[in-house]
């Protein structure tokens, strides 16, 4: 039992567990202490200096983000002196910031802008100083504009600690300090896996997704193009946040919305997720029953994870599912199967993916296999935040949109397909189908509670046909090491493999916490988004991918069977070891 601390904040007596920071404790008595660097996902870096408070009787000010409330403290969070100091610090930060809010991707969504407004700062009271630093657009996924960086360190923490990628670090010191990959190289040449968590955590516009809305508009306005769109599972449960709804599923509104934006065909990535499961579950069955390739099987539907694996764990390539990510599958099927059936010239198809993810922007040109249809399978990727902007640009009243259905043959999905958006979802979906493939019997209960939830590493055992399968799930790349080191250890020492099946998603919470999702995500929000996906699954008549009649149809009419020659050609890819640093 944690010790209980008694103290006062602004005269209000409160009891908290020992170790609770003043900032956290203040929230419990309805006081919001402003901060620019503390993010709920991260330990305090104590770099902005705005969250200072006083402890009565001491002349020193304390940083509430990193100071635990102590017995008998009498904290003052707001008084004229504190407010004045906070204002001065904000003004100092503004003196080293471009303050070109109108032209910034974070306009209206910027934490610095919000604080500036809250403090009523209307002028630049200190001389401006900006270093002329170039914008790094090399990743094709996330852009870094170091001029807008306020050095809060969130991205560095996320990149190093949460994601274990270490692409970002602080360079130089004093006023010259800046964020950059070590060695002052471009992000594309660094270990960066384009997960975009830096952009999701950045309080300002220093890290933003590479904007592809112009490209999307151009395609939509081209009379020669046949515009096709797909939405990822995680987008439907987060898009509402831009319009004041949390944890709500807007699948059908999105279908209507995308048609209004001008798309000719609206598909759902969840359908392609069902295809992924057919292929992946078959791979698993092959490996488990026939042993032609080694176990554990590791999921591959997250491009950041693929990039991470290629850079840091190339020895795991043989364990990787060769299955492409669902949106790539939908892309290639649109430009082959769908085009054939509807007699559309695939060269005219303009295919857009709406994703919770920045990495998919990079993935679409990752290698030649991303053009398996003979054309680039996906033409543009928009993340959730970009779609929100397009909705607003198009003047669409989101709230009053009617529900519509998606277009046939590449749209209808099983419950399994939609839970892809949450950590553990791919595993759960795969297990539902793998069970059928291995045993020939349907599951009575398709829910696998033990693979759900936000625990960083989930390890569990599942019985299929009397055989115990050891499962591991990691989300947030920082949690991968633990699992893969066990696998490495077993390989090196010829021991029994610790797992049969491993799911990894690069972003914390899986795609619901993706790098392209709306800002200020917390675990609470991740849970709500995931919950909305699980509810969608619960309400579906068809819960398992192999039961989806459209899936049966596409295999019958086009693909043959899972892992058939055609499937392998269109739906699978391969991997190669990549250097962590390009140069």
């Amino acid at each position: 039992m944690a010790k209980i601390i008694k103290a006062k904040i602004n005269g209000i007596l409160l009891r908290v567990e020992e170790g609770t920071t003043i900032l956290e404790a203040a929230k419990r008595v309805q006081i919001k202490i402003p901060t620019l660097c503390k993010h709920p996902d991260l330990p305090p870096s104590a770099s902005c200096g705005i969250c200072i408070v006083k402890n009565r009787g001491s002349h020193k000010m304390l940083r509430s983000c990193c100071t635990p409330l102590d017995e008998g403290m009498d904290i003052v969070t707001h008084d004229p002196e504190i407010v004045e100091i906070r204002r001065t610090v904000i003004e100092l930060i503004l003196s080293n910031h471009p303050n070109d809010c109108l032209k910034c991707a974070r306009n209206n969504q910027c934490e610095l802008q919000e604080l500036t407004a809250d403090f009523g700062i209307k002028e630049e009271s200190f001389p401006q100083f900006l270093r002329d630093l170039p914008i790094d657009t090399s990743t094709r996924a996330v852009d870094l504009d170091p001029k807008k960086c306020i050095l809060c360190g969130r991205c560095v923490h996320v990149c190093q600690e949460l994601q274990d990628v270490w692409a970002l670090s602080f360079l130089e010191r004093g006023m010259k300090t800046r964020i950059s990959p070590a060695g002052d190289i471009q992000l594309a040449d660094s270990p960066c896996v384009k997960c975009g968590q830096c952009s999701a955590h950045c309080p300002t516009g220093a890290f933003v997704e590479q904007d592809h809305t112009a490209q999307a508009w151009k395609g939509l306005q081209d009379p020669d193009k046949y515009c096709v769109v797909q939405i990822a599972p995680a987008v439907r449960v987060s898009i509402g946040e831009a319009f004041g709804y949390t944890g709500k599923n807007f699948t059908k509104k999105l279908y209507a919305l995308l048609r209004r934006l001008g798309f000719h065909a609206v598909f759902d990535t969840s359908f392609a997720a069902d295809v992924t499961i057919m292929e992946e579950a078959s791979e698993f069955e092959e490996r488990l029953l026939h042993g032609n390739r080694p176990l554990p099987l590791i999921t591959s539907c997250c491009p950041s994870w693929v990039d991470f694996m290629e850079k840091f764990y190339p020895d795991m390539i043989e364990h990787f599912s060769s299955c492409k990510s669902p949106h790539e599958i939908l892309g290639v099927l649109s430009k082959t199967y769908y085009a054939e059936k509807n007699k559309i010239d695939p060269s005219k198809i303009f295919m857009v993916s709406i994703m919770p993810c920045t990495s998919k922007k990079y993935e679409i040109t990752r290698n030649d296999e991303m053009s398996a249809s003979g054309f680039q399978d996906i033409d543009a990727v928009l993340c959730t935040r970009e779609l929100v902007r397009m909705i607003k640009q198009a003047g669409i009243d989101f709230d009053s949109l009617p529900d519509e259905e998606c277009d046939s043959i590449l749209g209808e999905y099983a419950g399994a397909g939609v839970i892809f958006g949450s950590t553990g979802g791919v595993m759960e979906a795969a297990l539902r189908t793998a069970h059928y493939f291995v045993t020939g019997r349907e599951l009575k209960n398709v829910k696998f509670e033990s693979v759900r939830g936000l625990k960083g590493v989930k390890e569990t055992e599942i019985e299929i046909d009397g055989k115990k399968l050891r499962i591991a799930i990691a989300h947030g790349l920082g949690n991968v090491e633990y699992i893969l080191n066990k696998v490495r250890d077993a390989k090196l020492n010829n021991k029994e493999m610790p797992y049969h099946f491993i799911e990894v998603m690069a972003c914390p919470g899986g795609c619901v916490g993706g790098g392209g999702q709306p800002y200020m995500v917390t675990d609470e929000l991740r849970i709500k988004r995931a919950q909305a996906l699980y509810e969608d699954d619960d309400q579906k008549q068809v819960r398992c991918s192999h039961q989806n009649p459209y899936i049966k149809r596409i295999y019958k009419e086009f693909l043959g069977k899972p892992l058939s020659e055609k499937s392998e050609k269109l739906l699978h890819t391969n991997y190669k070891a990549r250097p962590v640093y390009v140069k």
């Binding site: 305090p44 200096g49 100091i85 610090v89 009271s125 006023m175 300090t177």
Partner: protein, 580 residues
């Protein structure tokens, strides 16, 4: 076998060095009197007394004679051989007395010889600690002594140790902070170079106190000799069984390693120092948790400054009570200062806490070299403040200096006379801190930079009265909202000069004048025709050809070209250059 040593040094800089002459004379006399095997004569480079003619010091009696004449040779030798007789009219009576605890062995023993250190009582304290005292009594003794950290902040040493000792951890660390970085300060360096074993002994005792089995010296790489001496001393200590396993036969084990600092000032801050040793970027971290709870590699760690550690063996040997007698109510023991600047005798001074600044600067260091009155004294290096002349009678201790808007700091002390500008001085120090800011936290990173901008503006004559308000505003936010000591104190030089010398700021702002004649943008050089003898020396010496004219028509300064280097002013023999 020598029984006495006589040190000789001519301390009069204004004449030719007569040391050798006197040395020969003395030797000759001793040989004549057949005393040359009894008394050794040594010529020394520095004898610790200045401008007192020929100075002779008799050891081990520690008697110093000044203004010695040739005919005094016999008297001195007789007195030296007598039983305690002193030549009253020659003996040196210092006005203020230094009290050497930290520097006790510096210059006396061979720093590269552990035998020398041991024969001067070294490692006896360690023996006592391991043999009789034990952890609790050791910490009690340190508590009684009242010693506070000499790194600057003055945190009670025993409390640091006690916190770390109480932590239940299989692994603990001790670190000697030898990342001395204040401009002009070299106290720690002198101890490391002059008496390395005293610091090592202190570190071993600290390790024993908290139960650490691994220690580090974090020394800045710019101190190669200190590193070399510590390396040697560590090796010797291992050879003598003072480090390694079962130290002095006890169950206590300790290994010590050296880590070099790469030159970042902020790495003297303990949490940044820890990051640096861990191989990370040297930036400070929030405290709590304090290093004594969660330090190096997340383990309880005690970090002590060189000077603190050098005190420890003496405290143990002579007792905490003895140490507590020295100094003031709140600040016990001595403090070593590196006195530099416009002072006559610059150097290291170790005084008992409570001595006044005036005693240090005037009596020990002999006032200003120029003979001009002292304007102010700056303590605490770039984190300290400027103390004006009228407050020099303040006794030195942690609290008093803080009250005056300065700090003890690690012991840098810079003396300023009226040629020093009170806008220029804080500009220099702030410039240092801006350069050395790690860049992590906004108030320090940007605040320091902006303040420096205002100071530059004022010193260049572009200041406006509102600038002083801005300076104070930023200074306040830096003090209160910066994460570490560097940012919290970086504004001290500005605030203290604003407090004591606001007039001088206003002179710069309102009258565009630098009273000290230091701020080059505000100085104009011109030639006073009446005094000019048309020698042309200014003309030939001007590096930028900013003086025009000739021997016939006379000379004048072309103001647009003049870079205010002051060369003409210095070379003119007739005081015909006007500087204002």
């Amino acid at each position: 076998m020598y029984t006495k040593v006589i040190l000789v040094k001519d301390t009069d800089l204004k004449r030719e060095d007569k040391t050798r002459e006197f040395y020969t004379r003395l030797l000759d006399y001793l040989r004549e009197a057949s005393l040359h095997e009894q008394i050794q004569v040594v010529r020394v480079a520095d004898i610790g007394v200045y401008e007192q003619g020929l100075v002779v010091k008799v050891l081990p009696d520690k008697v110093t004679y000044i203004n010695v004449q040739d005919e005094d040779v016999k008297k001195i030798v007789d007195a030296a051989l007598s039983d305690g007789k002193i030549i009253e009219d020659l003996v040196f009576k210092p006005k203020a007395k230094q009290c050497r605890i930290v520097l006790r062995n510096c210059g006396k023993i061979d720093p590269e010889s552990i035998e020398d250190y041991i024969s001067s009582g070294g490692y006896l304290a360690l023996k006592k600690v391991l043999g009789e005292l034990g952890q609790q009594k050791l910490i009690d003794e340190i508590k009684i002594s009242g010693i506070r950290g000499r790194g600057g902040a003055g945190y009670p040493t025993w409390m640091k140790w006690n916190f770390a000792r109480e932590m239940n951890s299989a692994e603990k660390f001790v670190i000697c902070n030898a990342d001395e970085g204040d401009p002009g300060a070299y106290m720690d360096r002198s101890v490391l170079e002059g008496d390395p074993h005293s610091v090592i002994e202190g570190l071993i005792i600290a390790a024993f106190a908290i139960g650490a089995s691994k220690g580090y010296f974090y020394i800045r790489a710019e101190y190669p000799l200190a590193v070399e001496r510590i390396q040697k001393a560590i090796k010797q200590a291992y050879d003598y069984g003072l480090l390694g396993n079962n130290i002095l036969g006890s169950p206590f084990n300790l290994d010590i390693d050296i880590r070099l600092g790469a030159g970042a000032f902020v790495c003297g801050e303990e949490t940044a120092l820890i990051s640096s040793i861990e191989g990370k970027r040297g930036t400070p971290h929030p405290r709590p948790p304090y290093p004594s709870v969660k330090g190096l590699w997340g383990k309880p760690t005690v970090i002590n400054n060189v000077e603190t550690l050098a005190n420890i063996p003496v405290i143990i040997a002579k007792g905490g009570k003895w140490f507590a007698q020295i100094g003031t109510q709140t600040s016990k023991g001595t403090k070593v200062f590196a006195v530099t600047g416009k002072v006559k005798n610059s150097g290291l001074v170790e005084i008992a806490m409570g001595a006044t600044l005036r005693e240090i600067v005037m009596d020990i260091c002999g006032g200003t070299l120029s003979g001009k009155p002292i304007k102010a004294v700056q303590t605490g290096g770039p984190s300290g403040g400027v103390i004006p002349e009228n407050l020099l009678d303040t006794p030195v201790d942690y609290e008093n200096l803080q009250k005056l808007g300065s700090i003890m700091g690690s012991g840098g002390m810079i003396v300023m006379d009226e040629d020093d500008c009170m806008v220029d001085i804080p500009k220099f120090y702030l410039g240092f801190c801006v350069e050395e800011s790690c860049g992590k936290c906004a108030p320090c990173r940007i605040g320091g930079f902006q303040m420096l901008g205002y100071l530059k503006k004022i010193s260049e004559g572009r200041g406006i009265p509102e600038d002083l308000g801005q300076l104070r505003r930023i200074a306040q936010s830096m003090q209160k909202a910066s994460l570490c000591g560097l940012g919290q104190t970086a504004s001290n030089p500005v605030l203290s000069t604003l407090k004591y010398f606001e007039d001088e700021y206003n002179e710069h702002i309102l009258n565009k004048r630098c009273p000290a004649g230091k701020c080059s943008s505000l100085i104009t050089y011109s030639i006073i025709e009446d005094k000019c003898k048309r020698c042309g020396i200014c003309f030939t010496n001007c590096p930028v050809k900013a003086i025009s004219g000739g021997k016939e028509e006379g000379y004048s300064v072309i103001q647009d070209k003049c870079i205010k280097c002051g060369r003409c002013f210095d070379v003119c023999k007739f005081k015909a250059i006007n500087k204002k």
